[in-house]
């Protein structure tokens, strides 16, 4: 006998949306497990606005966006536990967790939704040489200290990397009276969303250094400065371009990594490029009844897409519990074509597609000013769309009508990005 029909690991935007959707689809026995002291995940420290444009058609702050889902969760009487760390998930869906109230518990679920989110890449992982003083931290850690704890992390900062949190923190530090002396990207375009570049850097006259990186951290006790250099098109430092910038703080916004340690314990197969599980259109992994959604699956830049994806997972998990989850169809595989980094989902069972459209989420491998997104089935084009400015920092989506995917068993779907000449 199972203790719960569905156990959701993680109470951030992905876990909340998935749990709510499962409940709305008729599953009463749902439990959400959250490691932090409150629900909402990283949204709680994102006090800037700009969330919810797609889902709510208005600009909310992170905590406001989270509050909407937390309220709905409460209204639907969905059970949750905070301060609770999941220690293990097995492939037969046993979930071991611990917290101060319940102690150590092992519960049996009929389905598990993985929604653990992601973590930030660190100085150690990218190997920035130099000394190891105080004052070097990830942009997200700084965001938490400033927005949740109420403490400042420095007076003169340099930000390495142009991920969205880095951009947001450039503005936040400035508003708190700190001087952001430089922010940089190794590539010839910023990694984060264009709207964040405009609203967080341009509006505050923060200098953006494209094709630059940091090659040395100086200072014994506290950061005293960094060496910034220009990099060539192969991202190698250009000798002689070194510039010493005096600062007391270095924030890093150099990538996010899905947190899949639990997924791997459960035997979930991973994909190298997205660094997340391999899933089908319902966001089910290779392990029967284990689903994944949100940043644990692939890093999103906009929370609305997390919500939509997690609703898909929640709905599918509910269908799985109700025995309405068909396994009759043949799987179509999905593979990246030229200039595409990864695509989610990795396979489709057309029998299970309940909407009339299938949405593919993907990222390009490079920057295109003008291009065409092309979807092919077994080499034959079934959809194409013109786009301006496609770059790895912004996730692309493309929807294909389900009936356009003629029922070719075991066919292969590819998506590619093709440059469009100016005169076309």
């Amino acid at each position: 006998m199972a203790d719960y029909d569905i156990v959701v690991v993680g109470g951030g935007p992905a876990g909340l949306a998935a749990a709510i959707e499962a409940k709305k689809n008729g599953i009463d026995s749902v439990l959400v497990l959250e490691r932090e002291v409150e629900l909402g995940g990283i949204l709680q420290q994102c006090i800037h606005h700009g969330f919810g444009l797609h889902v709510f058609k208005q600009e909310l702050t992170g905590p406001e966006y989270a509050e909407f889902f937390i309220n709905e969760l409460e209204e639907l009487n969905i059970e949750y536990k905070t301060n609770t760390m999941v220690l293990d998930v097995t492939n037969d869906k046993e979930v071991a967790f611990i917290n101060p109230q319940d102690g150590y518990q092992i519960i049996q679920a009929n389905a598990v939704i993985l929604a653990m989110g992601c973590r930030e890449n660190t100085r150690g992982a990218i190997g920035i040489p130099g000394s190891r003083p105080a004052g070097v931290m990830t942009a997200g850690a700084a965001q938490r200290l400033i927005n949740i704890e109420g403490y400042m992390v420095g007076k003169e900062a340099v930000i390495m990397g142009t991920g969205d949190i880095g951009l947001i923190m450039a503005r936040r530090l400035t508003l708190e009276g700190a001087k952001v002396k430089a922010i940089m990207s190794r590539r010839n375009y910023p990694a984060g969303l264009t709207r964040n570049v405009v609203q967080c850097l341009h509006d505050y006259d923060i200098p953006l250094n494209l094709q630059h990186t940091i090659t040395y951290i100086h200072g014994k006790d506290r950061v005293e400065g960094v060496t910034m250099v220009r990099v060539d098109d192969n991202r190698k430092p250009v000798p002689g371009s070194e510039e010493y910038i005096e600062c007391d703080t270095l924030l890093l916004s150099v990538g996010l990594i899905p947190e899949n340690e639990l997924s791997q314990k459960a035997g979930v197969e991973m994909e190298r490029r997205s660094k997340g599980p391999i899933v089908n259109e319902s966001r089910e992994t290779n392990v029967d009844g284990i689903f994944a959604c949100g940043n644990v699956l692939h890093v999103h830049d906009v929370v609305d897409f997390v919500t939509e994806e997690s609703r898909t997972a929640g709905k599918a998990a509910a269908a799985y519990i109700k025995g309405e989850y068909s396994r009759k169809g043949s799987l179509m595989t999905v593979e990246p074509g030229s200039s595409v980094d990864y695509i989610v989902p990795h396979s489709i069972d057309p029998q299970r597609v309940v909407d009339d459209k299938i949405e593919f989420m993907f990222r390009s491998t490079k920057l295109f000013d003008k291009c065409r997104l092309i979807v092919k089935q077994d080499g034959e084009q079934i959809k194409s769309a013109k786009k301006t400015r496609v770059y790895p920092g912004e996730m692309e989506t493309i929807k294909v009508k389900a009936d356009a995917l003629s029922d070719k068993p075991n066919s292969k779907i590819t998506i590619e990005v093709e440059e469009v000449q100016e005169d076309e």
């Binding site: 101060p100 150590y104 190997g127 000394s131 190891r132 105080a134 109420g150 992390v153 708190e176 014994k220």
Partner: protein
């Protein structure tokens, strides 16, 4: 007034203090850093060597072999993570196979047991992930891996439990001998002691020069490392060395006692004895050199780099003994590799010297060789976890999610003698922030706990040294609230 004042709380000083605390002596340890184990001891290969390397008849040979044999009991008494996983020296040519024979012979002369020369096949069986081009290896079963920070913290804590004093942030600026006693001046205090034991690591020469003209030189020699994620921890089972050359023992690949993978070091003579900066060219060298042993090292799983400085003596051997010019002043200098392995034997050796100087030593009847066990939540079985959290709910609060460190463990590490007083001190004791997120998630929580337990303001919490504050003040909103 101390009987014995030990300068330096690295693994050498801590071993000497712990050994002497078995006797009725007033012992003081002074350390210039904000924590024990904060220089050479915190940044090395963390290996307990079998003892086939040093020249027969040297201090290094004698104390390495003696010391290594002491670790089982010592680590049991002090609850220190230690694993005898053995070591391999691999040969890439017939010529290097001859070097292995020489090492084997050398080991026999030094009294090393349980050594075997393995052929290519046997080596592959033991270490299937190494490169194909290996001719054979020297396998030494008695070598092992240890956590040098926890060892040094444990030795100091136990010495303190048995009566020794630890004084941190005390940099010695002057030593005077007056009558038969020493007056030791630090930046803000003065101590008096009958005997001084110089365990000052790379600064042993400077300390000795405060009492007389030195007859040795300590050359700081830097080495850099990669630490890889636990996902890579089982690439090798043993400590895998390359054949030693004139340049040293070469680059090694080793699991750590906590399950990570360690790759390094290089060797570079430097000017500044406190220069522990990492550099790209040196790390690139380590990476390339290690590939000779194993081409498949997953460097993309690297979670950190670090550098340490060896205290290399110009004499080629440890410098151990009472100064022939200054009575009562004992040098324990030039403790480079295999210093960690030799540390327990060095302690014993110094005790014999003190015993002779002092005209015999009286046993400390209250001496307790055991340190209170530390709970390591990560290592507990599910039923043990259930039991302990039922007793103390703070074991149910996971603070560091990568290394599974609970609030109760953190509080314990702060409250003990030689307790943690900084983020890095906790990292060294209970591994908060040591994992793949490198403290990205847990450091705000760790800071809160330090602030609460040490009864200091959040802004006073430091990373390591007293000047390494993390926070620079409150935000505008919080200031208004205050």
């Amino acid at each position: 007034m101390y009987d014995v004042l030990i300068i330096g709380a690295g693994v050498t000083g801590a071993s000497v203090a712990r050994e002497l605390s078995r006797y009725n002596l007033k012992i003081g340890i002074i350390e210039k850093e904000n924590d024990v184990a904060n220089a050479t001891t915190k940044a090395n290969s963390a290996i307990i060597h079998a003892g086939y390397d040093p020249k027969p008849g040297s201090w290094k040979a004698k104390l390495n072999v003696e010391g290594t044999a002491m670790f089982d009991k010592l680590c049991e008494e002090l609850d220190v993570p230690f694993k005898k996983n053995g070591s391999l020296v691999v040969a890439f040519s017939e010529e290097e196979m001859k070097t292995l024979e020489e090492l084997y012979e050398n080991g026999l002369q030094n009294g090393v047991q349980n050594m075997h020369i393995l052929n290519a096949e046997q080596t592959k069986e033991l270490e299937p992930n190494l490169n194909e081009e290996i001719n054979g290896s020297l396998y030494a079963k008695d070598a092992g891996i240890i956590c040098p920070f926890i060892l040094t913290v444990a030795l100091t804590e136990n010495a303190m439990e048995n009566g020794a004093d630890l004084m941190l942030n005390q940099e010695v600026v002057d030593i005077q001998k007056e009558n038969s006693n020493f007056k030791i001046k630090t930046t803000d205090q003065e101590f008096e002691s009958k005997y001084v034991i110089n365990c000052a690591g790379v600064f042993a020469e400077e300390i000795y020069s405060m009492v007389t003209e030195t007859d040795f030189e300590i050359i700081p020699r830097k080495g850099q490392y990669f630490v890889l994620d636990k996902e890579a921890g089982d690439l090798v089972n043993t400590v895998v060395f390359q054949c030693p050359t004139k340049m040293g023992k070469g680059v090694l690949i080793s699991p750590t006692v906590h399950g990570n993978l360690l790759v390094g070091p290089d060797s570079q003579d430097i000017e500044d004895k406190q220069d522990i900066d990492t550099s790209k060219d040196r790390l690139d060298f380590v990476r390339e050199a290690a590939k000779k042993t194993c081409a498949e090292i997953p460097f993309h799983l690297s979670i950190n780099n670090f550098a340490g400085v060896r205290a290399t003596p110009d004499t080629g051997d440890f410098i151990i003994g009472e100064s022939d010019k200054v009575k009562g002043f004992i040098n324990v200098a030039g403790i480079e590799s295999p210093g960690l392995s030799a540390a327990p034997a060095i302690g014993k050796c110094i005790r014999e010297i003190v015993e002779e100087l002092h005209g015999g030593l009286k046993i400390n009847d209250n001496f307790n060789p055991k340190r209170k066990k530390m709970v390591r939540f990560e290592e507990l079985t599910p039923s043990e976890r259930a039991e302990i959290v039922a007793q103390n709910p703070d074991y149910g609060r996971i603070v560091c999610r990568c290394e599974l460190v609970t609030e109760a463990e953190i509080v314990d590490a702060i409250q003990r003698k030689a307790g943690a007083n900084s983020i890095d001190a906790l990292k060294r004791r209970v591994r908060t922030g040591m994992g793949r997120c490198q403290g990205g998630f847990c450091s705000p929580r760790v800071m809160e706990i330090l602030s609460r337990e040490l009864n200091i303001d959040m802004c006073e919490v430091v990373k390591d040294s007293p000047n390494s504050r993390i926070l620079t003040g409150m935000t505008k909103y919080s200031r208004e609230e205050c």
